[in-house]
């Protein structure tokens, strides 16, 4: 982290460059797998290829929000309260929001193609929309201002509250839906048979999106560290300028 702060040219190190090259290569291979090598679905045709982006996106979002919660808990419980945990929580939160958005968009496009509608009031879809809004709120709270310590503590508590809120919302939305109609999506996938290459492509998608997540989260943490350092330095410079004014 310190080397990243000192380096003026970017947030990359040798290790992250290797990770980046790996990510790009596996993404390229995933695109080939998804668009060229894997077969069309018997019922859905080519639209099934959306799955190779849709499922890994929500997978990354879950990992990211899990990481936000874990880093927030570590921040609050650790004795020295290192801000690096806060920045990792924030970086993961941002990336999680991005990937929930991707999976909502790809999901509704896929839904339009295979069920003929962009949105159904299914419990899983509704909870995912709530997940999206909740973490938008989390990001808004991170930008409230104040000192870095204030931001860290506020957002850490909020991230832990979100962990409590999401199961409650999911549970009550499921109760709500079960009285109105059967879930159409969640139960539909259980008896689906996938051929070997499709399954492999999906699995490979999960791996390459995880690599992408790691790459992004490390760089974002470092750029957040730079932002924090810049704010600190700006404050010091302002105090210095004010002192000189007072002297002269």
């Amino acid at each position: 982290m310190n080397s990243a702060v000192a380096s003026p040219r970017g947030t990359g190190t040798r290790n992250t460059r290797i990770l980046g090259i790996l990510t790009i290569a596996s993404m390229a291979f995933l695109a080939l797998l998804g668009l060229v090598f894997s077969a069309e679905d018997r019922d859905q045709g080519s639209s099934v290829r959306i799955m190779y982006v849709h499922v890994p996106s929500i997978w990354v979002a879950y990992i990211a929000f899990g990481m936000t919660a874990a880093c927030s808990a570590i921040y609050l419980s650790s004795r020295n309260r290192s801000l690096i945990w806060d920045r990792f929580a924030g970086a993961a939160g941002e990336i999680g929001v991005l990937f929930v958005a991707v999976s909502l968009v790809t999901g509704s496009l896929w839904g339009r193609l295979s069920w003929g509608t962009y949105w159904v009031w299914d419990a899983r879809l509704t909870s995912t929309a709530f997940l999206f809004i909740t973490y938008l709120g989390y990001l808004a709270v991170r930008r409230l201002g104040g000192t870095h310590r204030q931001r860290a503590r506020r957002s850490a508590v909020l991230a832990l509250l979100a962990i409590l809120e999401i199961p409650l919302v999911h549970f009550s939305v499921r109760l709500w839906r079960s009285l109105h109609q059967e879930a159409t999506v969640a139960t539909g996938g259980t008896d689906v048979h996938m051929d070997g290459l499709m399954l492999f492509s999906l699995f490979f998608g999960l791996i390459s999106f995880t690599l992408l997540f790691l790459w992004l989260v490390i760089h974002r943490q470092r750029s957040l560290a730079l932002e924090d350092a810049m704010e600190n330095r700006g404050l010091d410079a302002a105090i210095e300028a004010r002192r000189e004014e007072a002297v002269s």
């Binding site: 709530f130 508590v157 919302v169």
Partner: protein, 231 residues
């Protein structure tokens, strides 16, 4: 004097202070209540059909409650942050969980009054009819939902209180969290009103959901309020 006794006294003092401010300024009566009533009238304009209004009256009552609640919460923390009163309380070493409970209690009283008004409006304007058991169920629903809403509202209101742009932040933070209350309270009220042919007995499981929500956020709120408002 035990710490529990101390906390109880502080909580009641905070609640009495909030309600006294409210009683003297009459914001709830003069501004929030008319606001809630006009929402109910506007719903009638938007859904211009008596049959539909009767059917969806429970949902409208709770939507109007949520919207007016946002105004009340902003008001209850505006009196704290205007003169740095909350900071002063914290500096004076007052237990944050006692402040939380006190402010929640005051909010409960105000919300309950609002909800009674809104249910009354629904009866008058939308032609809702209730049996005696239905009326009892409606009161229980109001009470349990109010406890949950007040606790969540105080928790997130306190977080947004010290910040710039809190007017826009509070709804974004609060409305997703209270979705379970909207679902549970609407279903329970439907049962109480008998709208859409719902039976009174169908409401009790939903009231249980409301009670679980209230207990969770009362406990979590008293723990998390301190770190959230501490500056």
């Amino acid at each position: 004097m035990s710490t529990f006794e101390q906390r109880r006294r502080v909580a009641f003092a905070v609640a009495r202070k909030d309600l006294t401010i409210e009683w003297n300024s009459r914001i709830l009566v003069n501004q929030v209540a008319p606001f809630a009533a006009i929402i109910m009238v506007l719903f009638a304009f938007a859904l211009d059909n008596e049959g539909i209004l009767q059917r969806v009256a429970p949902g409208l009552v709770w939507l109007a409650t949520l919207f007016s609640m946002l105004v009340v919460i902003q008001r209850t923390f505006a009196v704290e942050s205007a003169d740095g009163a909350l900071d002063a309380l914290r500096v004076a070493g007052v237990d944050p969980s006692a402040i939380f409970i006190g402010k929640s209690l005051a909010l409960m009283v105000q919300l309950f009054a609002l909800e009674l008004l809104l249910v009354g409006t629904a009866v008058v304007l939308y032609g809702v009819e209730m049996s005696l058991v239905g009326f009892a169920e409606a009161i229980v629903t109001l009470l349990t939902a109010t406890v949950g809403l007040a606790c969540v509202g105080t928790l997130y209101g306190g977080l947004a209180a010290g910040a710039r742009g809190r007017e826009t932040l509070l709804p974004l933070l609060l409305l997703p969290v209270v979705a379970p209350v909207l679902i549970g309270a609407t279903r329970a009220t439907e049962a109480a009103f008998g709208s859409g042919g719902a039976q009174v007995s169908e409401g009790w499981p939903w009231i249980l959901l409301l009670a679980v929500f209230a207990v969770i956020f009362a406990v979590v709120g008293s723990v998390a309020f301190g770190p959230l408002v501490d500056e």
